[in-house]
């Protein structure tokens, strides 16, 4: 089943690549060929937001006693890992597109800045995941951290938007500059979003499986070490 899904993902990604590179036209006001980065940038950004949404949701499910399950914590971690990678990709691809189009690698636009903040927030979350000792302790700390990060993002977005509108007028994302999307472009964009969402689902499934195996191995090794220790130590008889 999973193999079939992986194959379907690969095919969709391949078709997207063909459309993005050869079928769709270049755009004058979007850096000519650079417009093709759009088919990478939009889906990676979408997957990043989706991933962090899933992390928040599964963290919440872990925190509610009635729905608590160790799997939620592992899914939250797997999703956040994929999310951080895709946020990084979004920033890099956006930067690569920005240089030829805007003439600058970085613009202090609200969306860009918030995405960068998001990147660091969840890097912190992943660092926290790696340091906690037991699964239960990690579950609690990380679920709370994920929810705080999730609440923090809209406030950050608001503050950065205000900062920009109160300070420098007319950022790059003005509505007049919008690309009039050509039919094949719109289709490719939708296809790319579908392909990357499938890729996301596949990566999370694999990462979750790996995390579960890791946890199982740790528990087994601990049990084995305890058993060996008990066998090796002579039983002491308490003095009367």
């Amino acid at each position: 089943m999973k193999r079939l899904f992986a194959a379907a993902t690969l095919v969709t990604l391949g078709v997207t690549a063909v459309f993005a590179l050869w079928v769709t036209p270049e755009r004058e006001n979007q850096g000519f060929q650079a417009v093709r980065l759009l088919y990478l940038h939009v889906p990676t950004a979408w997957v990043a937001y989706l991933a962090f949404g899933v992390t928040a949701l599964t963290s919440l499910l872990w925190l509610i006693p009635r729905t608590r399950d160790a799997a939620w914590d592992l899914i939250a971690g797997a999703s956040a890992e994929v999310g951080v990678v895709f946020t990084g990709l979004t920033l890099v691809v956006g930067s690569l597109w920005g240089k030829p189009t805007w003439g600058t690698w970085w613009e202090w636009d609200a969306r860009l800045t918030t995405t960068a903040i998001l990147f660091f927030l969840y890097l912190g979350y992943l660092a926290l995941r790696r340091t906690a000792a037991t699964a239960d302790e990690r579950g609690k700390r990380c679920a709370i951290a994920a929810l705080i990060a999730f609440v923090d993002v809209p406030i950050s977005y608001l503050s950065v938007t205000w900062w920009q509108t109160l300070h420098q007028q007319g950022t790059v994302f003005n509505p007049q500059n919008k690309v009039l999307i050509d039919g094949s472009m719109a289709f490719t964009l939708v296809l790319a979003v579908v392909a990357f969402t499938m890729l996301y689902a596949y990566l999370v499934m694999e990462r979750f499986e790996l995390a579960r195996l890791e946890e199982g191995r740790e528990a087994r090794e601990l049990a084995q070490a305890i058993a060996e220790r008990i066998a090796a130590e002579p039983v002491e008889v308490a003095p009367a």
Binding site: G124, I155, W162
Partner: protein, 224 residues
């Protein structure tokens, strides 16, 4: 009522420790002052530039000092297993949070006054719009102290606490950094009305941070 009394008890304990150990006075205050000086070196002591950037530099210095203050606030709980004592004290988690956050806020506020004087003297800033400065300063300080306390306990007892806390706190407090800097800028530029939306943002942030901390602190204290 007992909730607030317990919070005052915890805050009093933390502040008493600080008064006796003088770590905040002898280490965190000089740290804030040297950061203010470092910014002047970085900007080549260009008076107009320093003058213009003063609000941002002030809050950047405070933000760095918050990291030290929260590290200190939780390292005193590590010594002599004081954390276990807190857990066994029977105090409500929320009131412990309020107490610890309040103690950090009081220290930060004192630090802000001292660093503020340093900024006025060294960057040639003339103080205007005191009411706006005070309101935004208090709201920002409460938000910073509460956020730092939540992340302090979140990373408490972990091996990499010292390095983890800055990574967790700094991205989370960007709204405070922006809001406090902009409202200070508005006040000092003689346009205090521009500051009100920012003060509202700072107050909203502070309320959210205090609420989140009061709810989450108890369960988090049981770990580590």
């Amino acid at each position: 009522m007992t909730f607030l009394r317990d919070a005052l008890l915890v805050a009093g304990k933390d502040l008493r420790i600080e008064r006796r150990s003088r770590v905040a006075l002898q280490q965190i205050v000089p740290f804030g002052a040297i950061v203010v000086m470092l910014f002047a070196f970085a900007l080549d002591s260009d008076r107009t530039l320093l003058h213009e950037a003063a609000p941002g530099l002030f809050w950047a210095a405070i933000l760095l000092a918050v990291l030290l203050a929260v590290g200190r606030s939780f390292s005193i709980e590590e010594a002599n297993r004081a954390r276990d004592g807190l857990r066994l004290s029977g105090l409500d988690g929320g009131s412990i949070f309020l107490g610890k956050a309040a103690a950090i806020a009081v220290q930060l506020f004192l630090l802000e006054i001292i660093v503020g004087i340093a900024v006025v003297v060294l960057y040639d800033v003339s103080v205007r719009g005191v009411l706006v400065l005070l309101c935004s300063g208090v709201a920002a300080t409460v938000g910073l102290a509460a956020t730092a306390t939540v992340y302090g306990v979140l990373a408490g007892g972990l091996r990499a606490r010292e390095t983890l806390v800055p990574l967790l706190v700094l991205p989370a407090v960007t709204p405070v950094m922006l809001g406090a800097t902009r409202s200070f800028e508005a006040a000092l530029n003689g346009a205090p009305s521009d500051a009100w939306p920012w003060i509202q943002l700072l107050v909203a942030f502070a309320i959210l941070a205090v609420t989140a901390g009061t709810v989450a602190f108890g369960p988090l204290l049981e770990e580590g």
